[in-house]
Amino acid sequence: MSALKSNFRANSPTVDQVGVVERVNRFATRSIKNEAKLKGLKMVLNMIDLTTLEGMDTEGKVKQLCYKARHLHDAVDGIPCVAAVCVYPNFVGLAKASLAQSGINVASVATAFPSGNSSLDIKLTDVKMAVDQGADEIDMVISRGRLHRGDYQYVYDEIAAVKEACGSARLKTILETGELGTLDNVRLASDIAIAAGADFIKTSTGKIQPAATLPVTLVMLEAIRDHHVKTGQMIGMKPAGGISKAKLALHYLIMVKETLGVQWLNNKWFRFGASSLANDVLMQIVKQQSGAYQSPDYFSID
């Protein structure tokens, strides 16, 4: 064990919560109008990981979701498709088949999602199952209990092992920030995940409240920026859970733009994990084009 790795806490910068909230409030006062709004809304759609992660998921539900992913709103021309569909490992094969030739990725949660409380072997088996079925992306959860105990090396090693098991699939590491307690811990977990080889860092499972928030996301973006400045390597970001309104999503994009730069404003480097966001964005796009809000009944619920 190298001294550097075991010294994660000392090497991770501290964060001032009051200052973070103040900065975030500045993003939220940005006014996004007209062509900038339309362009932003289309970007948002193209960054969505359309998600279903329920105990009652069925093949029928997954198929419907995959169709929606390809055809968000056929009534209007020029609507992009989403970035990926996110499901449990046992639906990966079906999702992969349903999305064939669409360019839409299949992401699978794994590693004893959402708690992450299991042995490493079982977690790796979970990952391999998803990868073998063709998952393009793996959304793992970190061991929050270990992090709270100060066992940072364990958290690091586990992420590194999962990364290896992913093979060519991109690894998104879920920090579950709602269970981390402080922004200092969010920063620490981000640094550990990035160091261990995560391709993306992601806020939440969606099963714990609060899920994604602007302050938590800003702290994670700053970790990504610092890593990029040091190494030149880009890491992706995915806030997930709790983002259901277009306006909020646009403020996330403003934050990404001003913190990281426009090179992050595409679905290779930024994603929204969301199930109901797409319809609100669609509604705003149609309003932008027609001048009037349509009834929600005109937008399909899948």
Binding site: P13, T14, V15, D16, V18, G19, V20, E22, R23, T29, R30, S31, I32, K33, N34, E35, A36, K37, K39, G40, M43, N46, A83, G103, N105, E222, V229, L253, K257, E258, V262, Q263, L265, N266, N267, K268, W269
Partner: protein
């Protein structure tokens, strides 16, 4: 997966001015009425973003000032000092509420007339001005409790002269405590930014404030001098340059006039290596680029501990690149127009001076509108305590950065200035903050934040930054005899 190299620039988002009304020309507000001057001089109020003349303002004469002082004296003796304190409080509450109701209109006019971004006038200047009236309204009938057993008494007529950087807010800082303590007022706004003070006079009329309690005389420095020199004024309250502050002190020497002065500053903003760097960088930005740097307490001298210098400067430049300079009425503007041609020239001279002094110069390459007074946010690194850009107040968006090694060194350097208005300290260690605050010679010290204002918190300086405090109990005391 697509990795498009999209740009995503914000579309213009201008605040609408359709609902905003102001007169094309204003007289002097004396004894509750707008009236013409005894002379015939007027001058234009210029929108610094477009260089358009947006209103005609009256230049008061000595005779006008005399009339205003007489009106204030009369109102003081016959009405305001006789009125039950609770009734005075009611008028001030009424002013506060009316100001709050018309906040949007005031914000737009403040930005049109002075060049500050609408985000700041809307979110900071106007709400804070209303808060000052609310706060002081509450004290009006509780002065006996504010100063127990000291028998507080009002002074009489207060002559107040305010600057152009926070036109309405400074008027509120001056007028609200004077009224709450039972004094009457003759106020002169700065010549480049008279409009919101005159709009405030309209609010006084709507609030049915008794005539003469507040009088507003507009014009240049000579009008301020006439107020300062008037022998029937009991108190002078001035916010502005140290140069003028010295003239005022000379002018009133030997008189019984009470005086508070809030003058220039060259504040040290100190970043230790254990600070939360990203938030500190944001604090540096707010400290110096807030209101185009036209802030007497601006954190214009940055001290960075040497071990984190490169990181701080890198992040600072990155953040500067995301600042939007331009139309003050656009809701996305971070840095608006420089208040006047004169001030722009002063700032540009200092920028030239900094280059001549050999400092490293940096400005982001943001676009500027073709017309108007603009200055990009500016950073000078590699400067020394002996540089003039470190010693002199520039009053613009220009930051000079020095490094330091130890706590003692930075305290010495921070205090090594004729000014002493404010300072900022950034560290994650509480004990370090208290050590710093007890040794820095500055009236206001912010820890892990900057440019925070509250009516309950006294504001004012040491040394050539002036004396007396505004806000809180200390501010009330400046308008009372005991």
């Amino acid at each position: 997966m697509s990795e498009s190299q999209a740009t995503w620039d914000l579309a213009p988002a201008p605040e609408s001015i359709g609902h905003v009304h102001w007169e094309k020309s204003y007289g002097l507000f004396i004894n509750g009425q707008f009236q013409p001057s005894s002379g015939d001089q007027t001058f234009g109020s210029i929108n610094p973003a477009t260089e358009e003349r947006i209103a005609e303002i009256t230049e008061a004469t000595d005779a006008d000032v005399d009339q205003a002082v007489k009106a204030a004296r009369n109102a003081y003796e016959k009405v305001w000092s006789k009125m039950a304190a609770r009734e005075r409080g009611k008028y001030i509450f009424r002013i506060a509420r009316l100001l709050q109701e018309k906040a949007r209109e005031f914000a737009v006019i403040e930005s049109l007339d002075g060049g500050k971004p609408i985000r700041e006038s809307r979110d900071i200047d106007i709400p804070l001005a209303a808060a000052h009236f609310f706060y002081h309204a509450g004290w009006a009938d509780k002065l006996e409790y504010a100063f127990p057993n000291r028998k507080p008494k009002s002074l009489g007529v207060a002559g107040q002269v305010i600057p152009w950087n926070f036109p309405l807010l400074m008027a509120a800082w001056k007028i609200a405590p004077a009224l709450a303590t039972g004094n009457t007022v003759v106020l002169k706004p700065a010549e480049t930014t008279s409009l919101t003070a005159l709009k405030l006079a309209e609010i006084f009329q709507q609030a049915e404030l008794p005539p003469g309690v507040v009088n507003i005389v507009t014009g240049h420095g000579s009008v301020g001098a006439a107020i300062v020199n008037h022998n029937n004024v009991n108190k002078i309250a001035f916010t502005g340059s140290t140069r003028v502050g010295k003239i005022i002190q000379k002018a009133i020497a030997g008189s019984k006039k009470r005086c508070t002065l809030e003058l220039g500053g060259k504040a040290a903003n100190i970043i230790f290596d254990d600070a939360t760097i990203d938030q500190a960088v944001e604090g540096i930005i707010n400290g110096i680029y807030f209101n185009q740097g036209h802030v007497c307490c601006a954190g214009s001298r940055l001290f960075v501990q040497e071990s984190v210098h490169d990181e701080v400067i890198h992040k600072l430049k990155h953040r500067m690149n995301s600042l939007i300079v331009g139309d003050p009425l656009d809701k996305n503007t971070d840095i608006g127009a420089i208040n006047s041609k004169d001030q722009l020239q002063t700032i540009n001279q200092y920028i030239e001076l900094g280059k001549q002094e050999g400092a490293d110069f940096y400005q982001p390459q943001c676009n500027l509108p073709a017309k108007g007074n603009w200055c990009r946010p500016t950073l000078f690194t590699d400067v020394a305590q002996s540089n003039r850009i470190v010693q002199e107040e520039i009053f613009g968006p220009v930051l000079a950065v020095q490094t330091f090694r130890t706590v003692d060194e930075v305290i010495n350097k921070a205090n090594n200035t004729p000014y002493g208005l404010s300072a900022g300290v950034w560290t994650d260690k509480g004990s370090k903050i208290f050590n710093m605050t007890s040794q820095l010679r500055a009236g206001v010290i912010w820890a892990n934040t900057y440019n925070k204002f509250d009516p309950a918190s006294p504001f004012g300086g040491y040394k050539e930054s002036g004396f007396g405090r505004e806000g809180g109990l200390h501010g009330l005391a400046g308008y009372l005899d005991f």
